[in-house]
């Protein structure tokens, strides 16, 4: 049976969070596996979806009870500032 990468592992790969060896192995797999390449494309499509969602939250976040300011909360290390 062919081993394929789960989405979570492909996320680590594309965000550069894999070990060097893991990255080399994954890269080699992707070259010969259209199925995993397709999953990577899906993740890129999801990125665009999220761009739209964040734009939506900036204009209409109050409706959903999600406050998204112009300055990213990600810059704060204090969970109290994260406003979830």
């Amino acid at each position: 049976m062919t081993h394929h990468y789960p989405l979570e592992t492909l996320e680590l790969y594309r965000h550069g969070k894999m070990s060097l060896l893991g990255r080399i192995v994954c890269s080699a797999h992707l070259k010969k596996c259209p199925e995993c390449r397709e999953k990577l494309n899906e993740l890129a499509t999801d990125d665009r979806f999220l761009d739209n969602l964040r734009q939506s939250m900036r204009s209409y976040g109050n409706i959903a009870g999600v406050a998204v300011g112009s300055s990213k909360n990600a810059t704060s290390d204090d969970p109290a500032d994260w406003d979830v």
Binding site: R54, N62, I63
Partner: protein, 202 residues
């Protein structure tokens, strides 16, 4: 959050539920304001636009009877499917009022083809409306998502994918693995797309 129900307002409109002035105002005023701004209807006129659209949708004489800030909850709106899909129904009403207010502001009555305000041009108006409508629908889909997935999944998604907090911080805050945050993201996007499709269908 404006709702106690797990259904977004659009889903309730579609289901033929009676919608109160307050719920409608909370949900659709931001959309009308935003579209108005793109058309050059600003400041006081922008708020007038919201009130005019609202009174058109509810009852034209409502302002004669109530202060717009204190309209009783039993004053409600129920969309009549015979008037077409709600998004187009609202689009038509919003455009009429935006155009009238914009022309009043610009102090001209005749059509000026060099004026670029989207409310004066069919295609531009539809582009602006459709873009803002889609964003607005996404916001309502988030309302439903909150009730469709586990609270921890929702929070992971909101922190990481919407607020763009570093994944390691999210995982540490929620005491879970980075993989779990990615899983939450994938799961929520899938659910959101389903919700958006169902909201856009009717």
């Amino acid at each position: 959050m404006p709702y106690t129900t797990n259904k977004s307002l659009l889903a309730r409109v579609r289901a033929g539920d009676e919608i109160s002035w307050k719920d409608f105002y909370t949900t659709y005023a931001p959309l009308i304001r935003e579209v108005g701004r793109f058309c050059g209807v600003h400041g006081h006129d922008n708020e007038t636009l919201v009130v005019q659209v609202m009174t058109d949708i509810f009852q034209k004489d409502i302002l004669a009877r109530y202060d717009p800030d204190h309209v009783p909850d039993d004053v409600s709106f129920q969309h009549d499917p015979a008037k077409g899909r709600f998004r187009f129904f609202l689009r038509g009403i919003a455009r009429n009022h935006a155009r009238n207010l914009y022309r009043k502001y610009r102090k001209f009555d005749a059509f000026d083809e060099n004026d670029a305000s989207p409310c004066l041009h069919d295609e531009e108006w539809e582009n602006v409306w459709d873009r803002e409508w889609r964003r607005h629908v996404l916001a309502m889909a988030m309302v439903e998502l909150r009730h469709r997935v586990r609270p921890k999944t929702y929070v992971a998604f909101e922190m990481y994918a919407v607020k763009e907090i570093a994944i390691e911080k999210v995982a540490a805050f929620l005491k879970c693995s980075v993989d779990s945050v990615y899983t939450a993201k994938t799961r929520c996007i899938k659910a959101l797309k389903e919700i958006v499709n169902s909201l856009e269908e009717a």
